[in-house]
């Protein structure tokens, strides 16, 4: 895969991360267009199933962005989200995907800068890691995928 441009899904909570993303917009900060946002009311709403599905569909990276610790609009949804992300990471490792492709991050509504920074760093990281084996397989490079997944 030449000129690999990763596709990254960001599940953002409405109250903090999604607002921070809008804030990045109104401050005209720039970040890579690889990151696509899906809005959820709370990071705790993000199902393990959604995370795995994203990879199954071909995402190269996924992150869940919630409120800072203690700031969750729903008491502790962000803490739950962090735990869920942790367990899904282990699961990804088990099936042959690098756990680092999935991240949990937190930020406050005012942190437009942080949103842009996280999006940039995540994109850089995944770009270095290369396409996810599933992405490769879906793109037709089945043998490459097997190699990458060590099967």
């Amino acid at each position: 895969m030449e000129n690999f441009e990763p596709v990254i899904v960001a599940f953002c909570c409405h109250y903090c991360a999604y607002t921070a993303a809008d804030m990045a917009g109104s401050q005209r900060l720039t970040y890579p267009a690889n990151v696509k946002i899906i809005r959820v009311p709370c990071s705790g709403k993000v199902d393990a199933l959604h995370l795995v599905k994203a990879f199954e569909k071909g995402a190269d990276g996924v992150y869940v962005a919630g409120c800072l610790e203690g700031d969750c609009h729903f008491k502790n949804g962000n803490v739950r989200a962090a735990r869920r992300v942790e367990s899904v990471r282990k699961y990804l490792e088990e099936i042959g995907l690098e756990g680092e492709r999935l991240e949990m991050v937190t930020m406050s509504a005012g942190m437009g800068y942080r949103f842009a920074q996280v999006a940039t760093e995540m994109t850089e990281k995944i770009r270095k890691m290369g396409p996810s084996p599933i992405h490769l397989a879906l793109a037709g490079g089945a043998s490459e995928a097997r190699q990458a997944a060590n099967i």
Binding site: D47, K57, R80
Partner: protein
């Protein structure tokens, strides 16, 4: 029985700028009747001419237009444009006002704003101010309210042809205008200010040199709806300028002939914003220089903006008042001649554009209007207001807000407008509710079981979207998506015209799902929900693809990427909306009681206003007595007696039957939702726990006087803060007569690394105390060491007075602060005088430090955590929108007053407290609260009663009911979706965020990648 004089139920608002619109909306939302008059042919005032506003550099129209169209559709507001006030009779409770409406020559009921008249007869266009001589349309901007044209008959030579060209037959050349009278109980005066005209000052070249423009003209040049369609070009030759200069204080601070003696307060920020926006567009291609006297960035977080301009954007600052702007014979560029402190010779420098930062003034028209209303004016023709109530004029029942009260920026105008609304509402009778007058929305048509028919509407949002991506191509792309029936390009989807077209399209094409490709659902979802609902569609069948805030704004450097991402977002929205289902909102009766946290001036004023309006108010104060910081202050700079005022305020608060004061209150827990809050606190010496149920919460916790351990403060008895000094001068005035030399140091503990912002109040405190010392001891020599004197507004006149009386002002730089050491019986202060260029040493009998205020870090962080409220970097509470909603906190039902928001003077705190009362009333006026439709729903056929939802819910709402499955009360559910993701059987769905919709988004996103 004595016959009671009938009290009118209407408030008259004169002036439909931002302030007038805000006041009218606050009154209307609190169910008061309003007549809003404006002499112009559309409302919006000065703000509609701005390109972007500080400090967020947002596009103004995006933030303003929702307010404007709200203004025109409120059923309580009667809007009268092109109307002026001619005379007034009567008094508070019952004014009779005579008015005159000028002919528009267009029937507003018939005009559809199609633009045919303009296309055929552009000469009939009414001129817009500034450079806007050839406006692209005769409406000032696409969101104009009312949405209709105005004809200038005098410029029209073919009236018949003009009439014939109008397909709606709306042009009526026989329009005579009309004269009429209205009755009202109170009046809000918000006519705004006009701008200083520098034409008569020939040394500035304005009017002779086309490249010398005013700051508002420059704004019009930058504006996408301006004469150059947003292209920054020199008026003289149409080339992009390379070097632009701003000159501050034109028409302010008494500098030029005809200038006001006051500071216009907003121009420094205005110039900074223009310079930053210019730099943002052209980066290193352009040089920006601001010539200034004192940079006055004293608002909330404004100092940080100033620092960004300097450090991030490289705007150059020159402290100088230029002598002249000339253009040499035959030269292309302008030459500015100026001098600086550090050089004795004149400096000449070439620029290719010069912007004059012209200040505010009261127009003759407003002065005449004030005369008709009989209100007293000060020497600068601004209305005289009560020292402790900034919106009360000398005539009972007449209130003033905005620039017409004193020069100010938009957030302060918004605060005053709400404050005026609060005062004006108290003077009018409650209107009889006429439920049957309201036109109910059409019944919703059935959509369940029908094939999805999606309509996609893409906004170009001026340059915001259309400037980066080809919005037409996006619409074309969307039309190819499955189940999309129509896909259209809309200019501004949020304009009234577009909304109407969307509604027509829903009806004509039998659409049952709608996707808007535009800005953020956070700001505009409600608006589009209302739009589709009015067309008979359930409001939850619309989805917004955020292609502006999250695509074009952030990927403007790569239009290709922005386009691809916008397509992804649109396809995801379409996939999701197809699976959306009609939902019903939940509502509950509202609790009309109020909790005010903080018993200072702001808290007490908010409590009294709300209690007067019949609300039960719980006033929780952390200490054992009311009064707050103001109880330590003796007089204001205007010589208002603060002690008497605070004592009276406490007495009235304690005596009010609707106010329950809770002292020594420590808030420990908080739960519930807007309209139905529960807050627990430990109170009294014994720390008993009690819980209060309330509908809204007012945060008025104040700030702390700053006492940084600098310059021997706390070590030497001859060193004090301004707060200590004013108390000393009031309590032991004889002390001052023994002082020969007094030194004051400004910005101690402000504008430094630890506390980067300006404390706003200290410059005027220094002047106030300096004048007081001179009154007690005219022989005293007073040195004020300052960085920028920030005596904004009318405080400037006191600054000038202090200079006249011989107070010596010496500037110091942050890099070279004064040095202080204890000497024999005094303090030795050494500093560098920039004019003399040498070091001076003063043996001071007293050293006073202007230390300002800091946020109460401990108290605020605790409350912010309990109430889930965000704060600024320096610990103050962060409002919902720094420009347009400075009183509302981001969590509905929470409002902020006083110094908990940012450092403020007493009258500003009072103003904000009144504003809070008005804003809270907009919520408390209704009997129910809408909880929306986002709640978790259990499918009882799948539920295995495993208890995981019961355990995972942060609010303990689910329970296993008698039938043996989990039940979730939609009125209690907070809609976070935690149980949904935890449920192992996937028996729970969160309405609006159903799993199939989220999965559809993933599906659609990877459609392209894998294709």
């Amino acid at each position: 029985m004595q016959k009671q004089q009938q009290v009118s139920d209407k408030v008259l608002v004169i002036g439909g700028g931002m302030g007038g619109i805000r006041a009218a909306l606050d009154l209307a939302e609190a169910e008061k009747k309003v007549i809003l008059v404006d002499r112009d042919y559309t409302i919006g005032g000065l703000m509609t001419q701005l390109d972007r506003t500080f400090p967020t550099n947002n596009c103004d129209l995006c933030t303003l237009s929702p307010n404007l169209s709200e203004g025109s559709r409120q059923e309580y507001i009667e809007l009268l444009t092109m109307t002026t006030v001619k005379g007034i009779k009567g008094g508070k409770g019952n004014f009779t006002v005579s008015m005159e409406t000028a002919p528009r020559y267009i029937n507003l009921d018939k005009c559809t704003a199609c633009g045919e008249c303009y296309k055929k007869f552009p000469q009939c266009v009414r001129f817009s101010p500034g450079l806007d001589h050839r406006a692209p349309t005769c409406m000032r901007y696409p969101q104009a309210t009312p949405q209709a044209f105005s004809i200038d008959l005098a410029k029209c030579d073919d009236v018949e042809g003009l009439m014939k060209c109008c397909p709606a037959g709306a042009i009526n050349p026989d329009d005579m205008g009309r004269k009429f009278e209205v009755t009202c109980g109170s009046i809000i005066l918000s006519p705004g200010g006009s701008l200083f005209d520098p034409s008569h000052l020939d040394y500035l070249g304005f009017g002779q040199q086309p490249d010398v423009v005013t700051s508002l003209q420059y704004e019009r040049i930058l504006s996408a709806s301006g004469p150059t369609m947003g292209q920054l070009v020199r008026p003289s030759n149409g080339q992009q300028p390379k070097k632009v200069a701003w000159i501050q204080c034109i028409g302010s601070r008494g500098l030029q002939k005809g200038a006001g003696a006051y500071c216009s307060s907003a121009c420094c920020m205005f110039a900074l914003k223009e310079a930053i926006v210019t730099k943002e567009r052209f980066h290193d291609d352009i040089e920006t220089t601001i010539f200034y006297m004192d940079m006055r960035t004293m608002g909330k977080d404004y100092e940080r903006y100033f620092l960004r301009a300097k450090n991030e954007f490289g705007v150059r600052f020159v402290r100088s008042r230029p002598h002249s702007i000339l253009r040499e014979e035959g030269a292309e560029n302008l030459t500015i001649t100026y001098s600086c402190d550090d050089k004795s010779a004149n400096i000449t420098e070439e620029f290719d554009m010069v912007v004059l930062s012209t200040g505010f003034r009261i127009s003759d028209e407003v002065r005449l209007l004030a005369g008709k209303l009989g209100i007293d004016l000060n020497s600068s023709s601004f209305p005289v207001t009560d020292p402790f109530n900034p919106v009360a004029t000398s005539v009972p029942g007449i209130y003033v807000a905005g620039v017409a009260q004193a020069p100010k920026d938009i957030p302060e105008t918004m605060v005053q407008a709400s404050a005026a609304a609060c005062m004006a509402a108290a003077d009018v009778a409650v209107p009889v509710k006429a439920e049957e007058d309201r036109e109910p929305p059409p019944p919703e048509f059935a959509t369940v079981g029908e094939e999805a028919r999606v309509g996609v509407f893409i906004c170009d949002c001026g340059e915001n979207i259309g400037g980066v991506v080809d919005a037409g191509a996006l619409a074309e792309f969307a039309s190819q998506l499955p189940q999309v029936v129509v896909s259209e390009l809309k200019g501004h989807g949020c304009s009234r015209q577009s909304m109407r077209e969307i509604q027509e399209s829903i009806r004509d094409n039998k659409l049952n799902r709608v996707v808007i490709g535009g800005c953020s659902p956070r700001t505009h979802e409600t608006k589009f929900q209302e739009t589709v609902r009015a067309a008979g569609l359930n409001k939850y069948l619309v989805e917004i693809a955020n292609i502006r805030d999250q695509a074009t704004w952030v990927h403007s450097n790569s239009p290709q990427d922005a386009t691809a991402k916008a397509k992804d977002l649109i396809r995801m929205a379409v996939g999701s909306v197809i699976r959306s289902q009609p939902l019903v909102d939940q509502s509950l009766p509202i609790n009309k009681d109020v909790l005010v946290v903080g018993g200072g001036v702001a808290g007490m004023n908010a409590a009294l206003q709300l209690a007067d309006q019949g609300h039960k108010v719980y006033l929780a104060e952390k200490t054992d007595k009311l009064g707050g910081l103001a109880a330590r202050i003796h007089t204001t700079i205007e010589k208002g007696d603060v002690q008497t005022y605070v004592k009276d305020l406490i007495a009235r608060t304690e005596a009010h039957e609707n106010i329950q004061i809770i002292t020594r209150a420590l808030i420990v827990d908080h739960s519930g939702m807007p309209g139905l809050f529960k807050t627990g606190m430990q109170t009294g010496k014994q720390m008993f726990y009690r819980q209060i149920e309330h509908g809204v919460t007012v945060i008025a916790t104040g700030a702390k006087p700053n006492r940084p351990p600098q310059y021997l403060l706390g070590e030497n008895a001859a060193v004090s803060t301004q707060l200590d000094l004013q108390a000393l001068l009031a309590e032991k005035p004889e002390m001052a007569s023994a002082w020969d030399n007094v030194v004051m140091i400004q910005c101690v503990g402000s504008r430094d690394d630890e506390n980067p912002n300006c404390s706003r109040i200290c410059c005027q405190s220094a002047i106030k105390n300096a004048l007081r010392i001179l009154a007690l001891n005219p022989e005293a020599r007073i040195f004020v060491l300052y960085r920028d004197m920030r005596t904004f507004g009318f405080h400037e006149e006191y600054y000038q007075k202090a200079r006249e009386l011989g107070v010596i002002f010496v500037r110091y730089s942050r890099e070279q602060p004064p040095r202080v050491k204890a000497g024999d019986g005094g303090i030795e202060v050494s500093f560098t005088d920039p004019v003399l260029g040498r070091e001076l040493i003063v043996a001071a009998d007293h050293l006073c430090l202007s230390t300002g205020m800091v946020a109460d870090e401990d108290g605020n962080s605790e409350l912010a955590m309990l109430f889930k409220l965000p704060r600024t970097a320096d610990g103050y509470f962060l409002e919902d929108h720094v420009k347009l909603r400075p009183i509302d906190l981001p969590i509905p039902g929470f409002f902020v007053a006083g110094t908990a928001h940012s450092p403020k003077l007493i009258n500003e705190s009072v103003g904000q407290a009144l504003a809070v009362a008005a804003r809270a009333r907009t919520m408390l006026a209704s009997d129910t609260i809408n909880l929306g439709a986002r709640s978790a729903k259990v499918d009882k056929n799948i539920c295995a009663a495993c208890l995981i939802c019961v355990r995972s819910c942060p609010f303990s709402i689910p329970f296993i009911n008698a039938e043996g499955y989990s039940e979730i009360d939609p009125a209690k559910c907070h809609g976070c979706g935690v149980c949904v993701s935890a449920c192992p059987a996937k028996a729970i769905q969160l309405m609006q965020f159903e799993d199939d919709r989220i999965l559809a988004k993933l599906e659609e996103l990877f459609e392209r990648t894998n294709a």
